[in-house]
Symmetry: C2
Subunit: 352 residues, 2 copies
């Protein structure tokens, strides 16, 4: 856990060098928009502008949530295990989209209820699912710390394997409810504003889900400044692990892509542990879940891809990874004005 407080700031010199080169490229200044900002941010993270092609992976943390017992969702809890297994075959959303950017997918069992384990799913169980947050605290303090630590370790293990662009996702029926509760606790937002339909609840089920989140908040009333306590009382093992994963990426100075709503809530939790984490984060798509924008605002970030995705699994990460590859290619492969033999003095005084 002490790694949380041992995260370096990105390299300012590399960022300045990157910004200068981006401004010298044969194009009006600023005309490649966020691709320019991403190139600068990546250079700061890697400490140099000529960083090599980024080997990619997506970590998916699967866990069950005791709040499923409240019965507001018609989705069977067994879907968590089934989809975790399907992920190892590459046939779920994240697997198919990850293949499009040659990203490898790693699946972690953080506590799938009743799951006995299988090859291809890493056993990081910290319990047989969480407890029902509408009645009691989701987990023990030791479990929360363990889940976060596992997330950090997962990022470190992928860093050791040579991955240099990471994303994370989750699988766990009812984890939009736990995420909503965590988000409300961290930001003071109300369940009315952030609780969404998740996998697709009816109006009535949505109302039940809101009531469940409200009850959980009323029972636990965690101190919003005590992130660990928020995760312990309201979180899922998946959210805690993802928060740890983002911390681990920052600790190892590796860029990390946020997926959708749950991922954004985990990123917010990570940034509450240590705000420097956000220097390593990239938002990807604007989740259709209503709480997503609340999380982004709290992170002071904006997601550039507006595709209406709300699947989770980390499925939005690969699309952003392509954007980041493109940004790196711009920085490293485009010609400067000088190289392109264009008199930049005619151009650089415009375009701001």
């Amino acid at each position: 856990m002490k790694r949380i407080f041992d995260i370096k700031k990105p390299g300012v010199a590399a960022m300045e060098k990157a910004r200068q080169r981006v401004n010298e490229l044969a194009k009006p200044i600023g005309s490649l928009g966020l691709l320019e900002d991403y190139a600068v941010k990546l250079s700061g993270i890697f400490g140099k502008t000529n960083f090599p092609p980024m080997k990619k992976a997506i970590a998916v943390f699967a866990a069950d949530n005791g709040v499923w017992d409240e019965g507001y969702t018609p989705v069977p809890q067994s879907v968590t295990a089934l989809q975790a297994v399907n992920m190892t075959k590459g046939v779920t959303g994240v697997g198919v989209l990850a293949a499009c950017v040659k990203a490898d997918v790693f699946v972690y069992d953080m506590g799938i209820r009743g799951f006995k384990g299988m090859k291809g799913i890493e056993d990081r169980r910290v319990g047989d699912g969480t407890r029902n947050i509408a009645k009691e605290a989701a987990m023990e303090l030791s479990q929360a710390m363990q889940a976060i630590t596992h997330g950090i370790d997962a990022a470190e293990a992928l860093a050791d394997k040579g991955y240099r662009l990471l994303g994370c996702g989750e699988m766990g029926i009812c984890n939009t409810a736990t995420s909503s509760a965590v988000l409300c606790a961290l930001t003071g937002a109300s369940p009315e504003d952030v609780v969404g339909r998740g996998a697709g609840l009816t109006d009535e089920q949505l109302e039940q889900k809101r009531a469940v989140v409200r009850r959980a908040l009323d029972i636990h009333k965690p101190d919003p400044d005590n992130t660990l306590e928020v995760l312990r009382t309201l979180g899922g093992f998946d959210i805690a692990a993802m928060a740890g994963f983002f911390i681990g990426c920052a600790y190892r100075q590796i860029p990390a892509v946020i997926d959708g709503f749950i991922s954004a809530v985990a990123a917010l939790a990570a940034s509450r542990f240590n705000p420097v984490v956000t220097d390593y984060l990239f938002a990807s798509h604007q989740s259709a879940e209503p709480g997503f924008q609340t999380a982004m605002q709290a992170l002071n970030m904006e997601a550039p891809l507006k595709l209406g995705l709300r699947l989770g699994e980390g499925s939005g990460c690969p699309l952003m990874m392509h954007v980041l590859d493109s940004s790196a290619a711009m920085l490293q492969n485009m010609a400067t004005f000088a190289e392109a033999k264009i008199d930049s003095s005619k151009l650089v005084d415009i375009g701001r």
Copy 2:
């Protein structure tokens, strides 16, 4: 030109089949958002759901504009030729980003002022640049028709070479002014609302540019329902060729990606010739040029990538091509509920 009126509608049966499969995939219905809609649209265009991987190309139409003589821009006109040459080397924005999706870039000289031609740039000159729209009609009717025809031919030639996903872009100093004029004429929008800073004008230069566009509109007053006359009086050879290119893609039943502002105006012109063209079009990024949204609204489209790009050259197309590849992969490689062994009856009644 008669190909304009000979465009087939996309295949309804293939679209229905695609939608059915998309709904059967192991995910909540609708949870992959626009990726689902794109998969359906692509299936309709290709007339089948199991279409092969899409070989990609971007056509860049370069031309000079007589309105440059008005002197509101500090950018030398010679930059059109220089950047066209740089494009053949793959070192400009579009070349570098296209390489990230393995898209080939083809450059066409539609009328670069004083350009003598070179290997790698296809000679499709219809004049030595247009005339100054603030004083006289940009071109003769025969030139407008020739430019459109060249655009259609370019799409057909790429179709013959086996390309199955096309985009187009442009290079031409002052072509945001001509595009703005065309857009105002086609939609009735005012220069105040649509004229932007292009490559990056100062406040004063922007005001001059607005006045120039206003004067051009006042002089020519083309009938908004006569698209050919709008292009003839206010257009550039590049815009006319791009309009033709979109028509050619639709004629050959190939999906075509819109880049930024100028590309969107050309797409709008194409759709005015024949509204079926839009069934073959995909918007990509939200250009930072203010007129872009006006063009999108007129097309009844929305661009999903919000990256602040305003370079042109077709540079936004490759980013969207990756999204479309991902959409096709989702359709073709994800498992259905049945294949994933999940009881869909527990899931399909939610998620709408």
